[in-house]
């Protein structure tokens, strides 16, 4: 199966199941499309009829082209069939041990952002800070359940994790103390709004945090619309200089400036460019996840605008790269040669199995987006998984378990999408969040276009 599209003037054919990408012109794209279902002689006739006045579409060039197309098919780079489905049924039994925890160290926040999916950090519950005892037990739980896996991930999340900073530091030290004796390597990450960022936090993060996610929505008026403190003051002026200092000292260690866009800033590419102009180069921007009756929710009418924005962003990134001032956009990062294997592409994020979230009280949830949902409480860090049926549901959830994904060309890029988004949109983790899917497909087309264009130019 193939998927063909145009983006920023590039004609691209994706061979869905081999992952091969072909850059073409319009005539070659049509030839590839025709040859999928027609013998060569018929395809040649149809191609000639489609481009009657094109001087480059001659019998000789068509023979050469169709020969190349047939060769690509023989090499497994065109019209590859789906051979993966039988393997999906083995994924549940092959599902690995636990490898990542999202620690909700603070269910409280020093900002009061009205669009927050975590309801201002409280997750529909009470304010709370995770104790050191609970945190250490969570780290032990991860090590105990991680089997032979070497790389373990712990994300300090909230709310605002810097409001429980002393526990964060001690948990990092505790994790490090276990590494050699248990043959593990921890990768700690921190997601922060930056309000409490200071020199001491910065130095610690630069030593210990594999990745730091800094929340900024973009232009001042966009950021301050939602990201306000409890006195209703915008936080842009307070945090941007801190982020700039932080990033300056970060060296080559990972960070992301991560924003959320809403119905109020559908021109979100301008926010990403604003971030780039502030000196940040590692950028992420997510569509808001909220109820459809929320005034900031993205609408059907927004979609064409958002599609145009994603395409513009890819073109602008290509332009800036050519000018020697590139920046990274998380959703356009595709490692075409060294990206994930097909098992990862079928099984997804691992929520509920390889990845769990821990509440401040030590309860286990499939991921951070389910925290506070009583029906999705899986157990706790002392007794372990108590709701085995629920975990089985997540274990069996993969790209082939979602009926809506069966004909989707992008399924091996998203592994069926986010279970939490599917649940909130459809009431079922095996459903899909269709609006998110449509945005995702556009993002992947733009990502493929950008990476293919850069690869071609570098050759």
């Amino acid at each position: 199966m193939i998927h063909q599209f145009q983006c920023n003037g590039y004609f691209i054919t994706l061979d869905i199941f081999s992952g091969s990408i072909h850059l073409t012109d319009d005539a070659t794209a049509e030839a590839i499309r025709l040859r999928e279902t027609m013998p060569q002689t018929e395809a040649m006739k149809a191609l000639r009829a489609h481009f009657p006045n094109r001087p480059d579409v001659t019998t000789e060039t068509m023979l050469t082209l169709f020969s190349a197309i047939d060769q690509l098919e023989k090499e497994g780079k065109l019209y590859t069939r789906d051979v993966f489905k039988p393997y999906a049924s083995h994924l549940s039994s092959a599902c690995g041990p636990l490898k990542a925890l999202c620690l909700h160290v603070a269910h409280t926040c020093n900002l009061n952002c009205s669009y927050c999916f975590a309801s201002q950090g409280k997750y529909q519950g009470d304010n709370a800070l995770m104790s050191l005892e609970v945190g250490k037990r969570a780290v032990d739980f991860l090590v105990e359940r991680s089997g032979g896996r070497t790389n373990l991930e712990v994300d300090f999340f909230g709310g605002e994790p810097l409001m429980n900073w002393h526990v964060v530091k001690r948990l990092v030290a505790y994790g490090r103390s276990l590494e050699n004796t248990h043959n593990k390597r921890f990768r700690f990450t921190l997601t922060t709004n930056g309000v409490l960022l200071n020199e001491e936090v910065t130095d610690f993060c630069n030593r210990e945090m594999h990745n730091v996610v800094l929340s900024l929505d973009g232009r001042k008026e966009v950021h301050d619309r939602f990201r306000r403190d409890h006195m209703n003051r915008g936080s842009y002026d307070k945090i941007v200089p801190k982020f700039q200092e932080f990033v300056k000292s970060r060296g080559d260690k990972n960070y992301y400036i991560r924003g959320t866009f809403t119905h109020h800033n559908t021109d979100f590419s301008q926010d990403l460019l604003h971030m780039a102009d502030l000196g940040f180069t590692e950028l992420s921007m997510e569509p808001v996840v909220t109820a459809s009756d929320d005034p900031c929710a993205l609408t059907e009418d927004d979609l064409p605008v958002l599609f145009e924005q994603y395409e513009f962003l890819a073109a602008e990134m290509l332009r800036r790269t050519r000018e020697g001032r590139p920046f990274t956009f998380y959703h356009y990062m595709l490692d075409l040669e060294r990206g994930p294997c097909v098992y990862k592409r079928m099984s997804g994020c691992g929520s509920g199995t390889e990845y769990l979230a821990v509440s401040p009280w030590g309860e286990l949830y499939p991921c951070h987006q389910f925290v506070g949902e009583p029906a999705y409480s899986m157990g706790n860090i002392w007794q372990g998984i108590e709701n085995a049926t629920l975990q089985d549901n997540f274990r069996q959830c993969n790209v082939y378990s979602r009926p809506a994904c069966s004909d989707c060309w992008a399924k091996l890029f998203c592994a069926g999408g986010c279970a939490a988004n599917a649940y909130h949109a459809s009431g079922n983790i095996n459903g899909v969040y269709d609006y998110g899917c449509r945005l995702f497909r556009k993002r992947i087309e733009c990502a493929i276009m950008l990476q293919a264009a850069l690869t071609e130019e570098n050759e």
Binding site: F17, G19, S20, I21, H22, L23, T24, D25, T28, D56, V57, T61, L65, A68, I69, G76, T80, F84, A94, K99, A100, C102, F117, R149, N151, E153, D155, T191, V213, Y256, T260, E286, P287, L334, D335, L336, E337, R338, G339, P340, C341, V342, Y343, K344, R345, G348, C349, Y355, H368, L412, F413, C414, G417, C418, A419, A420, F440, Q451, T455, E456
Partner: protein
């Protein structure tokens, strides 16, 4: 007529040598509210 094939990882071949599971959990990196797996680098130490 243009036909240029970009070098990519062969997904069918990755059936044989993939699945080690050492790669990063996608939501831990930057998104937190969506699922994109294709941008995660492979961390398999063996031949890809």
């Amino acid at each position: 007529m243009k036909l240029k094939t970009i070098k990519t990882r062969d997904l069918v071949r990755s059936l044989e040598n993939g699945g080690c599971g050492e790669c990063q959990t996608s939501c831990q990196s930057a998104c937190k509210t969506s699922c994109g797996v294709a941008n995660q680098p492979c961390e398999n130490k063996n031949d890809k």
